[in-house]
Amino acid sequence: MRFEGTLDIAAPRDRVWSFLTDPTQVTTCAPDVQSLDVSDPHHFKVVVRAGVGPIKGTFSMNVQFLELERPKHAAVLARGQAPGSAVQMVSNMDLSEFDDTHTVMEWSSEVTVSGMIQQVGARLMQGAADKITQQLFACIKTKLEASVPI
C-alpha cells in the first residue's frame, strides 16, 4: 500500500528537520509508545502498540535512516513485528521553505503488511492507517507550531 500527502507546518525548516529526524522527539508523536532505544544516529528501536480493527498488538519496530540530506530530504526504513504479523515501511520526506516561518513537507510511505493483520484486517487497513496518520501529523503540527517548544 502506498500513502502520500503534503503538510504545511508554521515553523522554520531547520526546526522541522531537527524535530523529525530526532528519534526522541518524533516518537513523542507516535501512537502508544512503550519504549525507545536509540542505538546510533542512524538506527533506533521503538515499541508501539497499534491495532487494526479487532487485532491489536505490540509492534517492535526497527527503524533505520537510509538517507539524511539536511535539511531537505530523508528516507526511513522501518520494520516491525507483532505476534503473527509483520510490517515493513519505506518512507520519504522532502522539506521545502515556503517562507522563513513556513515549511512544506511532502511525504510518501510504501507499506507492506503481512500475517494476521493483513489476513483478517485487510478491509480495515485504510481506515486504521488514515487515523494513525492524522493523529501523527496533528501532533507534529501542534508541537512545532507552539510558540514555546513543547
Partner: protein, 783 residues
C-alpha cells in the same frame, strides 16, 4: 425378504447417525487423557524470509509452558524435514528460511491450550524478508526468485509429465477444419472440512509404544509413514497404533501428513505425556493442503459438422513450496488425462509442468478422485466453446459425439479403459426432466426482452477406484484395499476394513454388502474401521475408492465365507455340497426348499458342530486388487438467471442425472450427490484463495473465503441411470465425487450461455457478481 435383510438397493437408515444426531460422535478433540499437554504452533507472517534468530526465552518464562521446539532442535533428531507422498520433502520446522505465509516456525508445549497460545505470542522471531514469487508461470521464467534453495536443481520446475501422441495430435490440429482454444484457470480452493486437523499423541515410555488418535483418511498408510520417518528413533511399526476416530469431513485434506502431527508425536516422545494438537480454523485454511490451482490451455480440433477429432492440453500446476499432493506415484498430475471425457477423440496429447511458489504446499484432490475436476471442467467448457464456434446447440453437439454404448469397454486415446457407459441415455433423461426444448424457447423470448437467462450442460465421465496394483501405488504401497469378516457363533458379524469413513456412511453400506452376500440382517453386522491394531491393512478412503476397492474386498470376503458355509450346510443337511444352492438368503437342497439352513444356523455349527477335518470358525479376509478403475458418469443441466443490476448469478434449476453402477443405498447416494453438488456450486460461484504480490493470503478465514450456505444453495433435482461396472464384484462404481466433478462446468456453461449473444465465450470461475457486472458494463447491458 430383501427389506428385512437390508441388502443392496435398500435405503437403510444410517447406523452411525444414532450417535451423530445426538452429539455423541467421538472426534479427536473429544479424546482427553490424564496428564495431557497441549501444543500450539507459531507461524510465519512472511511468505518468504530468512530467519535471523528465534528468541524463546519470554515464552519459556510463562508458567505452564514446558517446552518450545524450533527447527534447530529437530536437526539432531533428523526430523526437520519429512518426506511428502510425492517424492518431495517438506519442512517440519525451518532451520533458516520460511517459504510461505503461515508456515510452521516453532511449537509450544504447555499444560493448557490457552497457555500454549500465550507462549506462541511470546516467541520473538527476527525475519529478513526475501523476494516472493506467487505466480507459477512467473516462477518458471528464467531469473525468477528461487523458492527451494535446498534442491540441487536451481529453478522452480518440479516435474514435467506428458501422455498421448504428440506428433499425431499436432498433425490432426494442422489438418483440422475447426480449432478452438481456451485458457482456463481452475483457482486454488480449500476443502474447509467442518472439523479441522488434529492429533492426540501418547507415547508410553516403558513399553515404547506410540498410540495416536488423528484425523486421517488413511490410518494404515500413516502408521507406515511414521515408522519410515521416525524408525531411526525407535518407533517401529509393530509398536505404533493409529486410531482414526469419527472424522468431520475429509475431502482429501486429511490424506497428507502435516508438520503438526510430527510435532505432536515428537512432543509426546520428549515429555512422556500425551500431547494434543488441534488446528484453529484460520490455520486450517492458511496452511493445510489446498486443491486445484491449475493454469490450463486447452485446444480442440473438429470437423465443421462438429465431429470431435483431437485434444491438446498444456498445463502449469502450482504446488506451492513443497509438492505435497497425494497422487499415486506414477501420476504426478493425478488422473488428469481423463480429460478426453465422454468423447472419442482419436488423437490427444496432455502435458503438465509442476511449479514451486511461495504459497502453502499441496495439490490434493478435493473430492475429485485425482485431478478429475480440473479435467472434467476443461473438456466440458471446451465443448461449449466449440458449440459457440460452429453455432450448434451444446446438447446436440454432445449427443453427436458421445462414445456409443456399444463401444465399451472403450480404450481412450490417452490409455484408459472405460468399463461401461451410456452417456446419451443420461443426457436424454436430464433434458427430459428439465424440459430442455421449452427452456430454449423461454431463453429466446427473454433475450428479445433483454433478460439474461442461460442453460448449461455438463456430461462428465469420472475415473475412480484407484487402483490396479500394476499402475497404482502411494509411496510404493499398492492401492489394494481389504476387508475382514468374522461371523460369530450367534450369527452376528464383525466387519473390519482398511478404508475409513469421514461421513460417507460406511457402517451402513458395507454392512449392506455383507447382508446381501450372507443373508444376515444389516442390524446384526457391525462395521469397524480406523484402528490399525484391529483393522486389516488398506490405503484408506479418498478418490471415491471405498466402494470400488474395499467394497470389492467385502463382497469377496463374504463369498469366501459363503463357500465355507456351504460345506457346513451340506454337512448339516446330510447332502453333497454339489446339491446345495444359495437361494433366498438360505442354503437349500436343490429342489427341496423345505430342507434348508440359514446362515445363523450354519454359523452356530461352525463353532459347535463343524465337520471333522474342517477348520472351526467362520472368518475370511480379502485383499482386493481391482482389475481396473471404474468410470461413473452423469449429465447435469443448470438454468441460471443473471441480475443485470448486481451481476448476481441465480441458479434457478439444477438437474443431476448420475450413473454410478449398482447402488448399495439409494438414500446415502442421494445425500452424497446433494453434498457434492453444493461443493461443485462453491468453486463455480464463490470460493477462491488468492494471494497478493507479497504472498499474503486473501481468503484465510470464512469472512473472505465464501462457503455456500443453505441460503445460496438451490434445490437440487436428482435422477439416475444404472449401468453396472462389468468388472466389479457387485457392479458398483463409487459416487462420492461425481457431483463435485460434474457441477462446476454446468454452472459456468450456463452463465456463459446467458451472455454468449453478447460475445462472451469464457469466464474463469468463481463467477462472482463483480466479474459479471464488469462484463455487463463492458457490453453496455448493465442496469
Amino acid at each position: 425378504m430383501a427389506v428385512e435383510i437390508g441388502g443392496i438397493g435398500q435405503s437403510v437408515k444410517r447406523k452411525e447417525d444414532a450417535r451423530f444426531i445426538r452429539g455423541r460422535g467421538n472426534y479427536v478433540d473429544d479424546v482427553k487423557l490424564p496428564g495431557m499437554l497441549y501444543l500450539d504452533i507459531a507461524r510465519s507472517p512472511y511468505a518468504h524470509a530468512r530467519i535471523k534468530s528465534i528468541d524463546t526465552s519470554k515464552a519459556l518464562a510463562i508458567p505452564g509452558v514446558l517446552a518450545v521446539i524450533t527447527g534447530k532442535d529437530l536437526v539432531p533428531l533428523k526430523l526437520e524435514w519429512m518426506p511428502t507422498l510425492m517424492s518431495d520433502r517438506q519442512m517440519v520446522l525451518p532451520t533458516d528460511t520460511v517459504l510461505y505465509q503461515a508456515q510452521e516456525v516453532a511449537a509450544v508445549v504447555a499444560t493448557e491450550r490457552y497457555i500454549a497460545a500465550d507462549g506462541v505470542a511470546a516467541i520473538e522471531v527476527d525475519y529478513e524478508p526475501l523476494p516472493v514469487v506467487v505466480d507459477p508461470i512467473k516462477a518458471l521464467q528464467p531469473g525468477a526468485t528461487l523458492v527451494r534453495e535446498d534442491r540441487e536443481q536451481k529453478d522452480n520446475h518440479i516435474w514435467h509429465w506428458e501422455v498421448g501422441d504428440k506428433a499425431g495430435t499436432d498433425k490432426a490440429f494442422k489438418d483440422a477444419e475447426v480449432v478452438v482454444k481456451q485458457d482456463i484457470y481452475i483457482p486454488r480452493i480449500h476443502v474447509s472440512s467442518i472439523e479441522t486437523c488434529g492429533m492426540v499423541a501418547s507415547f508410553d515410555k516403558i513399553n515404547g509404544k506410540l498410540t495416536v488418535w488423528m484425523t486421517t483418511q488413511a490410518p494404515h498408510a500413516i502408521r507406515t509413514v511414521i515408522a519410515l520417518v521416525a524408525g531411526h528413533l525407535g518407533l517401529s511399526e509393530e509398536r505404533i497404533r493409529v486410531i482414526s476416530p469419527d472424522i468431520g469431513g475429509g475431502f482429501g485434506g486429511k490424506v497428507p501428513v502435516y508438520p503438526g502431527y510430527v510435532l505432536a508425536i515428537g512432543a509426546s516422545v520428549l515429555t512422556g505425556h500425551p500431547v494434543k494438537w488441534i488446528e484453529d480454523r484460520s490455520e486450517n485454511i492458511q496452511a493445510d493442503s489446498f486443491a486445484r490451482d491449475y493454469h490450463i490451455t486447452a485446444e480442440l480440433a473438429a470437423k465443421k459438422d462438429g465431429t470431435m477429432q483431437a485434444l491438446r492440453v498444456k498445463t502449469v500446476a502450482d504446488h506451492g513450496a513443497f509438492d505435497a499432493a497425494a497422487n499415486p506415484s506414477k501420476y504426478p498430475a493425478g488422473l488428469f488425462h481423463i480429460i478426453t471425457g465422454s468423447y472419442p477423440f482419436t488423437k490427444s496429447f496432455v502435458e503438465v509442468d509442476g511449479a514451486y511458489t511461495n504459497k502453502p504446499p499441496g495439490g490434493i484432490a478435493y473430492r475429485c478422485s485425482f485431478r478429475v475436476t480440473e479435467a472434467a471442467f476443461t473438456i466440458e467448457r471446451l465443448v461449449d466453446v466449440l458449440a459457440l464456434e460452429i453455432k450448434k446447440d451444446p446438447a446436440e453437439l454432445r449427443m453427436q459425439n458421445f462414445i456409443p454404448p456399444t463401444a465399451f469397454p472403450y480404450t481412450s486415446s490417452l490409455g484408459w479403459e472405460y468399463d461401461s457407459g451410456d452417456y446419451g441415455r443420461a443426457l436424454k433423461l436430464a433434458m427430459d426432466k428439465i424440459g430442455y426444448a421449452e427452456l430454449r424457447k423461454e431463453q429466446a423470448a427473454k433475450r428479445a426482452k433483454g433478460e439474461l437467462m442461460g442453460i448449461g450442460i455438463s456430461s462428465f465421465t469420472e475415473i475412480v477406484g484407484a487402483g490396479p496394483s500394476k499402475h497404482f501405488d502411494i509411496l510404493g504401497i499398492k492401492m489394494f484395499d481389504s476387508c475382514e469378516i468374522r461371523v460369530h457363533p450367534t450369527g452376528k458379524a464383525m466387519v473390519r476394513l482398511g478404508v475409513k469413513s469421514q461421513g460417507q456412511g460406511h457402517e451402513t453400506t458395507f454392512a449392506q454388502i455383507v447382508a446381501e452376500e450372507l443373508g444376515l440382517p444389516v442390524g446384526d453386522i457391525a462395521v469397524e474401521e480406523g484402528d490399525t491394531d484391529t483393522a486389516p491393512y488398506g490405503l484408506g478412503t479418498y478418490a471415491s475408492r471405498s466402494t470400488p476397492v474395499a467394497g470389492g474386498a467385502t463382497a469377496i470376503a463374504a463369498r469366501k465365507i459363503r463357500e465355507k458355509a456351504k460345506l457346513i450346510a451340506a454337512h448339516l443337511l446330510e447332502a453333497s455340497p454339489d446339491d446345495i444352492e444359495w437361494k433366498d438368503y438360505k442354503f437349500q437342497v436343490k429342489g427341496v426348499p423345505a430342507k434348508s439352513k440359514t446362515m445363523q444356523e450354519v454359523a452356530f455349527a461352525a463353532y459347535t458342530n463343524h465337520p471333522q477335518g474342517m477348520e472351526a470358525g467362520l472368518e475370511a479376509v480379502d485383499y482386493y486388487d481391482p482389475p481396473n478403475l471404474t468410470f461413473p458418469f452423469g449429465s447435469y443441466i443448470c438454468v441460471v438467471d443473471i441480475d443485470r443490476g448486481t451481476g448476481e448469478v441465480k441458479v434457478r434449476r439444477f438437474v443431476a442425472v448420475d450413473d454410478c453402477g449398482t447402488i448399495i443405498n439409494p438414500m446415502i447416494v442421494e445425500g452424497q450427490i446433494h453434498g457434492g453438488l453444493t461443493m461443485g456450486l462453491a468453486p463455480a460461484l464463490y470460493e477462491q484463495i488468492n494471494y497478493d504480490d507479497d504472498g499474503n493470503i486473501q481468503g484465510g478465514n470464512f469472512m473472505d473465503y465464501l462457503l455456500p450456505t443453505a441460503m445460496e444453495t438451490p434445490s437440487w433435482e436428482t435422477a439416475k441411470t444404472t449401468t453396472p461396472s462389468p468388472h466389479h464384484p457387485i457392479g458398483a462404481k463409487g459416487v462420492g465425487e461425481s457431483a463435485t466433478v460434474g457441477a462446476p462446468a454446468a454452472i459456468a456453461n450456463a452463465v456463459v450461455d446467458a451472455l454468449a449473444h453478447l460475445g462472451v465465450r469464457h469466464i474463469d470461475i468463481p463467477i462472482t457478481p463483480w466479474k459479471v457486472q464488469k462484463i455487463l458494463k463492458e457490453k453496455g447491458v448493465a442496469e
